[in-house]
Subunit: 147 residues, 4 copies
């Protein structure tokens, strides 16, 4: 989309992803990191479900929120931190599948605020179906030196 | 708020809560279930964090979404199922604390759609601070007989 | 996008548009009506502004909400009515321009609920710039006979 | 709610309200301006309606967005400007009534971002009924000197 202002964006996304305890808990994995777009995946597991046995809406949100946050990060200057201001997610079909792919992308990269959107796909028997869409606001923070 | 149409609402919320694999994963617990309002909690754990060591936005959302869904359920007629149509969450402060309390409540209980809102509080050294607010739409489903 | 279930969808959108008093007030106009997508426009006027002289966020929302509602309508069976359940709009740049174009499209056409998204563009000196994005839920109603 | 940092907040809200061309168009009026909360009203008129003859969702949004924006403004330091980042509105009942009252209030007043919520009530035959709820993010801008 745009030229990344931070040449190390991919390394840093990978590093920050590894620092998120919840990602290891969920077994989530990065699929691709490009300027303005990030893809992540998570496989179905029984300890990620709601009462009908499908993936819980909160798990779907966790991965697509992170995909959007990292997408916003890829376009920020070096030394930035990213924070979720808010998001809105619509769930359009039951989260039934063997694995789930979240795509987050930047719609508008601002100096302070970035607007992103994204989708989550359920993959079942090789078929890919959109099950959720997100629209979200991310904020750039000047990161503490040590990080 | 309103008279519950289903006298077994509390038992059924407790049963459905136990059926959510993600709740056991997170170590979440029901605090109270009253007509039109449900409270849940989750304790801090390192495998629930984002890269700065605070609770991940997705975990906060998971518990407050469930609190709202169950709150909507308490006012539905027997034999209903509840489904999250969509939600919008604002994060107002870092999720720093020993434990987190989510409150979900019904604003409008409709025949098909219910509107709920709620908050998540971080509890640290005995102090309680609002860190997130939600506004959400829930849908009533005629549940399959066996359930 | 999808085959329209109602062959008269375009005539009916035009009729319902003409019935919206607010559209005449704003001087809004339909640009195109195709299955699953509707475009509308509104020209800048001083009585549509906020305190800095730009188009008010509420006016932007009014046209993109209607574009989405009509887009949902184009895919509904004959005899349907459409109702806005909720929407979320992000404003990404000041609404500065001579005219504004709203595009609404269906992401998922459900039996009861449809999810739509859309954008609003400001047109200034022949240049088109996205200033707002929407994600929204629409509901199908069985319309009263007379309509 | 909080002590206002700007002693002239009420005068300035009144001034900015008067500068909004859309407010005169709609015939909207300020009802009350207190620290952290603003109330506005608008009377029913045929040129503010959607196709079923009720107030258009966009008009409801226009007044409650402004009420929230002004509520955020009351808690900002002198010389600030306020901007709507995004909002989410749920419509819970048809906007049927003789007049409509919007209440906007600050949930969290931040240095840059403020979170507000609010309601819109329809008043019919002396009865007041909630028809819409909003959750929104407002941004503080350092205002140009002249204003």
């Amino acid at each position: 989309m745009t030229e990344p202002a931070n040449p190390n964006y991919a390394t840093e996304v990978t590093r920050d992803f590894a620092r998120q305890g919840i990602m290891q808990n969920l077994g989530a994995y990065l699929i691709s990191v490009t300027p303005g777009q990030v893809e992540m995946g998570v496989d179905f597991r029984h300890d990620l479900t709601q009462q009908h046995g499908y993936l819980h809406a909160g798990v779907i949100t966790t991965i697509v929120d992170s995909a959007c946050g990292f997408a916003a990060y890829t376009l920020m200057p070096p030394g930035s931190g990213v924070l979720t201001v808010e998001y809105k997610v619509n769930f359009m079909a039951p989260a039934r599948g063997e694995k789930f792919i979240a795509v987050g992308r930047v719609v508008k990269a601002g100096k302070t605020l970035s607007v992103c959107n994204g989708e989550v796909f359920a993959v079942q028997n090789g078929e890919r179906k959109v099950i959720a869409v997100i629209q979200t606001t991310m904020m750039r923070m000047a990161e503490k030196a040590e990080s």
